[in-house]
């Protein structure tokens, strides 16, 4: 498990590869020269600590995350290392608490951990706190201006180490080290994929309901590092990440022709995708990033098309006289789920990526809209319209329908990178029309609001960051 996780992390973050690096913790020796210690096998099926993600009814696992010590307090562009150590443990605790599967001990239940103690926990103390798992770590400022964050996970009752990771980050990315550590803990204890080190793009809203000003905005999954991408001159809708996370596809009313644009996050430049006077909307990238799936309305009829992400001539995929929109690829790119009102009201359909074999999968009564295929491939999230608007999931064949939320108007689901949680937006009733961002896990039990500086809608969760 640990090895698998380490292999999955590319070198962009300049990771000190796992075990050997962290074993060095208190000594500042080059990681590559360290002999790998005898790692404890981290098998899952040993009767040890395993967190149940399916049940959702069982109590969250108590976990202790004491402040991460630093060997020497050093001022860095991100702050002093002792202050960073406190913030790192806070971020990890918040991530794990927000998953709904863990209850971090309150600060009053935690004791200070000394630097040499990081790898040798005081098990007797932690057992007395009722914590089942313990996350210890350290932070160190390196001579080259980077920061090293060590992250260790222990099983308190079995008194053994379950995972260890080391991360070397530029000071600006210090929060990502905390998210990576929380991801390590979450993945090791649940057996699910990580998702905390990810971002959300959405539409920030201000102004009166009849004339909302809408801006693209991007933030970390926990709301940190928020920034606006567009200035609100034109209405913007439905942003979605490219798989490589370097660009965002969205719809804008700039020039009074509602059209699909690609926003390059690095340069801030935007380009029109389809040169056409027709209305184009509902864009989404293919999983390999080569195509953009979208809808085009011409003369009152809306169909699905795909176009090269570089532009060019669109290829038409549906030809029904109804409204075909809201397309989303399966994770392997072989199929597309979409909504169509060809049978009268909005329903969910699946077809092959070339448009063949179109068939309806939703038959539960009411209307179904905004289908999105889970990155795990096992579920399709949707908005169900039956009096109120609710977020739900069903299998790709249309079975096992579950409704996860129950409010007046929940819409627009988007999956977490590991397919265990869904973000969506909730609209308020009446003339304020306040829209807010939310997330809910697959059990429907853990639902919470995502804080944003302004109102927010159309959230799209990005992939796990490299």
């Amino acid at each position: 498990m640990i090895d698998r996780f380490i292999r999955r992390l590319p070198v962009t973050l300049a990771l000190l590869l796992g075990t050997s690096a962290v074993a060095q913790a208190p000594v500042a020796a080059p990681p590559a020269q360290t002999a790998p210690p005898a790692a404890v096998p981290a098998d899952q099926g040993d009767g040890g600590l395993v967190v149940d993600v399916e049940g959702g009814i069982s109590a969250p696992t108590p976990i202790a995350i004491p402040v991460m010590p630093t060997a020497a307090v050093v001022q860095t562009p991100a702050g002093a290392t002792d202050a960073l150590g406190r913030q790192l443990s806070d971020i990890i605790a918040t991530d794990l608490r927000n998953s709904g599967l863990f209850t971090p001990l309150s600060p009053g239940q935690l004791r200070p951990v000394t630097f040499p103690e990081v790898q040798a926990p005081a098990y007797d103390h932690w057992r007395s706190t009722q914590a089942q798992a313990l996350v210890q770590g350290y932070i160190r400022a390196n001579g080259d201006g980077t920061l090293t964050v060590g992250c260790y996970l222990f099983d308190v009752s079995a008194q053994r180490e379950l995972a260890r990771q080391g991360f070397v980050v530029p000071p600006a990315d210090w929060r990502r080290a905390a998210h990576k550590c929380a991801d390590t803990v979450y993945a090791r204890l649940t057996g699910e994929g990580p998702y905390f080190d990810s971002r959300v793009v959405y539409v920030a809203e201000t102004g009166p309901k009849a004339n909302r000003i809408k801006r693209l905005a991007i933030m970390d999954q926990d709301g940190a590092n928020h920034r606006f991408l567009t200035n609100g001159q034109s209405i913007v809708l439905t942003p979605r990440f490219a798989p490589n996370q370097q660009s965002i596809v969205y719809m804008s009313y700039v020039g009074r022709i509602p059209s699909i644009y690609v926003y390059d996050i690095g340069s801030g430049k935007q380009r029109l995708v389809v040169q056409n006077a027709a209305t184009t909307f509902a864009p989404r990238f293919s999983p390999d990033g080569r195509f953009i799936l979208f809808s085009m309305a011409t003369g009152g009829n809306t169909d699905l098309y795909r176009v090269s992400a570089q532009g060019g001539t669109p290829q038409r995929l549906t030809t029904s006289p109804g409204i075909d929109t809201g397309g989303s690829y399966s994770p392997d790119g072989s199929r597309i789920v979409f909504e169509s009102d060809r049978s009268g009201g909005q329903q969910i359909y699946v077809m092959n990526a070339d448009g063949s074999n179109q068939h309806r999968i939703s038959f539960g009564g009411g209307r179904y809209a905004t289908p999105v295929w889970s990155p795990r491939g096992d579920l399709i999230a949707f908005t169900k319209l039956a009096g109120s608007f609710r977020i739900g999931t069903m299998s790709p064949s249309g079975g096992a329908e579950r409704l996860l939320t129950d409010d007046w108007s929940d819409e627009g689901p988007s999956w977490s990178p590991n397919g265990r949680a869904i973000t969506f937006y909730r609209s308020g009733r009446g003339s304020s029309g306040k829209a807010t961002l939310w997330m809910v896990d697959l059990t429907g039990v853990n639902e919470r609001r995502i804080p944003t500086p302004l109102d927010g809608s159309d959230p799209a969760w990005g992939p796990l960051r490299p």
Partner: protein, 175 residues
């Protein structure tokens, strides 16, 4: 004494109202911070109004002359009903007098539809109005359409009355 005070208050109020009325065209928002064209919401700026002369064939002239610049639709519907027909017939007559004038028709929806579907439904409504005007002799080349989905409601309540006002197609003369 009491009487004269009342009179004074009334006179002040009348002055205030007169002042508001006079300034109104300036106070109205020029399609706020948005340049995407919301003139057709029915409450938008009336170009050239308030300065006295209304240019024949202008959007102000159109709004003053026709029965209504807006036709309404049923829930999730886009058919042109008898009431809408009468309004569009009237618009077509005005447009016949100004054959060089071009128009855009905005399609709008209520908030009880999902965002992307509403963009498609607004396009349907705008095109239904366009097709009707074309059948009444207005050259299709004079008409463009744009869908605002549910982005620009005319009424901001969350009730049947507000939603009925928001399911609409609005004709705007391009000056």
């Amino acid at each position: 004494m009491a009487l004269s005070r009342t009179t004074l208050i009334l006179a002040t109020a009348a002055l205030a109202i007169a002042g508001c009325a006079k300034k109104r065209p300036e106070v109205l928002p020029p399609a706020p911070v948005d340049n995407t064209g919301d003139a057709g919401t029915g409450t938008g700026p009336v170009t050239g109004a308030g300065e006295g002369a209304i240019t024949p064939g202008s959007n102000a002239d159109f709004q003053r002359s026709v029965t209504s610049n807006t036709v309404l639709f049923g829930l999730d519907q886009y058919d042109i009903d008898p009431a809408a027909r009468a309004i569009l017939d009237n618009q077509a007559q005005w447009l016949a007098r100004y054959p060089n004038v071009r128009i855009t028709i905005e399609g709008h929806c209520d908030e009880r539809g999902t965002r992307e579907y509403n963009l498609a439904l607004g396009d349907r409504r705008a095109n239904a109005a366009k097709n009707y005007l074309a059948a009444r002799g207005v050259a299709a080349s004079r008409i463009t359409t744009i869908s605002y989905g549910s982005e620009r409601p005319a009424a901001t309540g969350s009730d049947d009355a507000a939603w009925a006002q928001n399911r609409r197609a609005v004709t705007v003369v391009l000056n």
